[in-house]
Point group: none
Chain length 402, copies 2
């Protein structure tokens, strides 16, 4: 499908705004009640729903709850079952590291081992972030390169950090060294395919040297590695869609995901939703595709705070006219997955979807909500089917076949 889309996309002047309210879909708290979105006062989104066309998207497939990685890949039109984003890669993106396609990224933990090398604490007593930074600096100073591979170390929070192995000939198929329980020795990293033998050797050598450097730093006298994975080689949106895309997001992970598909990350002055809208206004003439990511809808859902989620949705709604004023050719509002306060987690429930453009055929949907969208003219599609639809309404897709 990607190849087909790529063969019929064209460059044009039209502009697209894809506003993703992370985890916006929800559930009633009580049987018979309304969802967060249905409860929110959203006159602007409702007006757009009346003038536009609505529907639902399954993030991946019915019943499958996605992580943020696959959910966003799907929204960007990439088959999330084809491009796997490993834990190490996501963690690296999450702390703002920039990855290249040859990189291998791993989540690492400081841990405590006894004299026999047996793990007595997999989290090194959750050392402070400050101590973590000190130790990462020490490791980085002493290990910047193994053979022809560059090593990049970046601290996260508490005992967590990320190691990136950068160089030619590294495959991503390597097992983890964390035995997942205490009372055991760390495992050796093993290659699961011949392409990854060099990776396994470098990882093991790295851990050996690190163990040597840390030997007097108890409780953080060993490291464990998990989610060792390769940055997926994703053809950029420039190539597939002929777009000049930009991303507006406050959280590093979403910036990282956007960067993976070729988006330029726009600077934002602050951390508020309004700051994101200001960034959109300032850069609106420079790009033709804008991914605007709102985190608050998801984080309030994860907290289980129905009221906070409603407020986040209403905050976005109040700012909607600012986007309308920019007059994008296609304006889409949706989620990447649902995060019902009832479940306090991502869920499999479909995302409400609203598309507004001059070429849409308005349906009978009256307001922007899960159940209203269920009656919408776009029906129920998979999230990865959305991008071609957006491009079509932006007149950026030509006829397939004669």
């Amino acid at each position: 499908m990607e190849e087909i889309i790529s063969s019929i996309t064209i460059k044009s002047e039209s502009k697209i705004v894809l506003l993703v309210m992370d985890g916006v879909g929800g559930l009633p708290q009580e049987p018979g009640g309304k969802t967060e979105l249905e409860s929110a006062y959203t006159p602007h989104l409702d007006r757009l729903a009346q003038r536009g066309i609505c529907g639902l998207t399954d993030p991946l497939a019915p019943g499958i709850t996605p992580g943020s990685g696959p959910a966003h890949l799907a929204l960007f039109g990439y088959d999330p079952f084809n491009y796997y984003i490993g834990r190490g890669v996501l963690e690296a993106l999450g702390i703002g590291m920039e990855l290249t396609p040859i990189d291998i990224a791993a989540r690492a933990n400081y841990a405590t081992v006894d004299e026999q090398g047996i793990i007595v604490d997999r989290r090194a007593g959750r050392i402070s972030t400050e101590r973590n930074i000190e130790l990462c600096n020490l490791l980085q100073q002493k290990i910047s390169r193994i053979e022809d591979i560059n090593i990049i170390i970046k601290p996260g929070k508490e005992h967590r950090f990320v190691v990136v192995f950068r160089g030619e000939g590294l495959g991503g198929g390597v097992t983890e060294t964390d035995p997942q329980k205490e009372g055991k020795k760390p495992l050796q990293a093993k290659a699961v395919d011949t392409d990854s033998e060099k990776t396994a050797a470098i990882v093991n050598r790295f851990i050996e040297i690190a163990g040597e450097i840390l030997k007097d730093s108890k409780p953080a006298n060993m490291i464990l590695m998990r989610g060792i994975s390769q940055s997926p080689n994703i053809p950029p949106m420039q190539q597939i869609y002929k777009l000049n895309p930009a991303a507006i997001a406050t959280y590093p992970m979403y910036k990282g995901l956007a960067r993976l598909v070729g988006m330029k990350i726009l600077p934002i002055k602050g951390e508020t939703i309004e700051d994101e809208f200001i960034a959109l206004e300032e850069h609106f003439s420079d790009y033709d595709f804008f991914f605007v990511h709102i985190k608050k809808t998801d984080s309030s859902g994860e907290d289980g705070s129905f009221e906070k989620k409603i407020k986040a949705i209403e905050e976005v709604d109040r700012l909607i006219p600012r986007i309308e004023k920019l007059n994008p050719d296609v304006f889409v509002v949706t989620g990447d997955h649902s995060t019902p306060c009832l479940l306090k987690s991502h869920s499999w429930h479909p995302n409400p979807l609203l598309l507004y453009s001059r070429t849409c055929l308005p349906d009978k949907v009256n307001s922007f909500g899960e159940r209203e969208c269920n009656q919408g003219g776009l029906g129920r599609i998979r999230a990865m089917e959305l991008m071609p639809l957006i491009l079509a309404h932006a007149q950026k897709i030509i006829k397939f076949g004669a």
Copy 2:
């Protein structure tokens, strides 16, 4: 997809009831009329439809009418285009034979041949079932083994019986020996691949010996074999879904299909629908997934009896509160395919679908019927997409990807 699902399913305490009203979907007898399901008085199913979420499933794909085998495989979440259930295997399951993954099963017919070995009656004058049993006993007594292959013979009705070849090294790619018309000699079974050469040799040897044994039993002095096929090697539900599944069905074929995917077949005291519900109640604490199969809705449809089909549906409806009382975490009511009385046969029309659980978002559907379900929140999905959805609502699936 199966691998993906298998990688994200987890064991949990929650319980699922999948009530399959075989062939429940239908059509109006007269233009402007109601379907069987729409005509039936179903207050309990209607109440569930109001509190739950509804939709439609295409058994396989739009326009494709399924046999019972693929229809049930799809309901159980297996791609029916990947797993082929041959006629011989289905026939064996249908008369209650238990198959192992190494078995080859064939439908066999008694036939009449003349002195030259030319077939003069492909059905041996439809000999009585009693005579069939006698002859099958005779054959079984005299041929229990050829080389290292065990032979298991079981009579069906009239001139029909089933032969199972059990042993190592048998492939399922063997042509049939029935030339499909009279005036010809029986064909030799031929292997269509190298894996099936041993099967062809054993089948031909079996027919040769059987012909010898039957030579004085005119009109049943020869046998013909069709649908020679291997039991499909389906990964069981225990493995893919981590379920402990049980089936409640009165007809052998459905028990056989359930057994193919690893379900335990529960004993039922009688033959009525209520007996099936009693079995569910008695075993409810022992399993976490229950497939309850209702045959009457289909058989009355095949008979073309609109009134009888309505009665069957109403009989099920009256018993619905017994399932509600058990309080399963997910309760699903649907069909495997439609059987409109108008057509007196299976059809391609989508199945009405009702799902009730604490985590469903109730839609505006007011009653359980084909056209009401068409407005439902689950939209129109393929039957094989249903299992992941059920497992999600039962909280038996974890997030895909990070």
